[in-house]
Symmetry: C2
Subunit: 246 residues, 2 copies
DNA sequence: CGGTCGGTTGAAGCGCATCAATCCAAGTGG
DNA sequence: CCACTTGGATTGATGCGCTTCAACCGACCG
């Protein structure tokens, strides 16, 4: 499952100039990680930056009493471990068998610093990551279990199909526990919610690690992706409200 | 309240070279926003980047049925609206009366691009922001009401005291509703939790918009800031576990 | 086979939301 | 100065959504 050739096309919305972030990594040897093994742990000295070639990783933090929070899943083409901190902020573990390329952190920084081509690409990635983090905060703060699961399905659907409108079949490489720890729920609630979505005909099971989306519109609705017009009503002249001298 | 001169010292852990991010803004005129007024709305064309000179802002998103999620509070010295997206991802509103400097987005980007001094500073800020976002995800996903409120108090305590160990008196410029929408709770729960913290002698009220911390250690404990040794046990040779071909 | 691991399903309980009343401080106008 | 208002905060009573605990199921494996 989740077997797919690395598609190197189709990344961030940065300008498509010649040297791309992945060409930076392309000379590096590929390392393989079996599912369940860690690439690095939270608190480790942050020695390297990684590019995912194939497979899916989970990135998480642990707090007291063994509570785990998965802050994100990392897909092929994504970078892993980019930060200026000298220790990793989280643990990264392979979900499926994973292939990575690695780059020394300081060398990576140098390359970025010296390349006016690469910099905006990296910057764009960070902004995307930030936007995703904010969406996740919204999900965790205010969405119901059903909305969370529906949102999750849409997120990974878009992830795999590279932003094209979600493919009908969604691969779910991670376990229910992973989903639960990502969505701030328990396994049981995730399971129950999934069966509810199946019962209502929104999705249909496709083995245990995939589903087909039957009613995409309904799914998006359940996810709380309000197509509200409200949101942009006042936008028009908002900035002008500020005292803008000159 | 929240009246304090802008202290321009003591920022990100970036190297303290001569031209700093705030000198970039220092020539810009200062604009004033009364509490409750918006600086920009989610979805507005992202025309400017702002530096907060004085006051506190809230940054939030609205989802269906008027549910609001505050993704962060912005303090003096912070930047606001930094992103490569061409529309703002969130609404920014003044909590208290606020003074800002503004910078055209493209010009800001140019300045950053041409200054090898400024770039790492901006990058460091983004990384800090990302780290904060991850902590917030942990809070929202797995912490109890009491842990959330305690965490919140510590966060803003550190914020105001510029990373020195939290000052005994914590200013809380925002309303309970703001706190609730930041912590993923309701006003009532926030209120109840605060009174509980007061009853247990951890904090003492200081008017409605400030508290004194009586038992800082207890507060940190309640916040779930586990001083676990567990976390770093396995860290030692973690990276070596990877197949690292020279 | 028994054993384990991930997943599903059921029953009971708890933590927080919801609804509603009250309070308090700061205006505001007569 | 005092009634009246208004917005934020507190406190109480009730209910619901999710967690918790526990049993069970199916697939895989030695």
């Amino acid at each position: 499952m989740s077997q797919r050739d690395v598609d190197v096309s189709d990344f961030a919305d940065a300008p498509r100039t010649v040297p791309s972030l992945q060409t930076l990594f392309s000379r590096q040897a590929v390392e393989k990680f079996e599912g369940g093994t860690a690439v690095f742990w939270e608190g480790d000295p942050a020695s390297h930056v990684f590019e995912v070639v194939e497979g899916v990783l989970r990135v998480f933090k642990i707090i007291s009493e063994g509570r785990r929070v998965i802050t994100g899943f990392i897909y092929p083409g994504d970078l892993l471990g980019v930060s200026l901190k000298d220790h990793y902020l989280y643990t990264a573990e392979a979900v499926t068998t994973t292939k990575l390329r690695r780059f020394g952190r300081t060398r990576f920084q140098d390359e970025i610093n010296h390349s006016p081509e690469l910099r905006p690409q990296l910057f764009a990635r960070l902004c995307d990551e930030m936007a995703a983090a904010q969406d996740q905060m919204v999900l965790l703060a205010r969405k119901s279990a059903e909305e969370r699961v529906a949102s999750f399905l849409l997120i990974i659907a878009r992830r795999l199909s590279g932003n094209r409108q979600a493919a009908p079949v969604i691969e779910i490489p991670m376990t229910r526990l992973d989903m639960a720890d990502y969505l701030g729920l328990t396994i049981e609630t995730v399971s129950r919610t999934m069966t509810k979505l199946i019962a209502s005909g929104v999705i249909a099971p496709c083995g245990r690690h995939a589903v087909t989306v039957c009613k995409l519109g309904k799914l998006a609705l359940l996810a709380g992706e309000a197509d509200d017009e409200d949101k942009h009503v006042a936008s028009a002249d908002s900035v002008r409200r500020a005292v803008w001298p000159n």
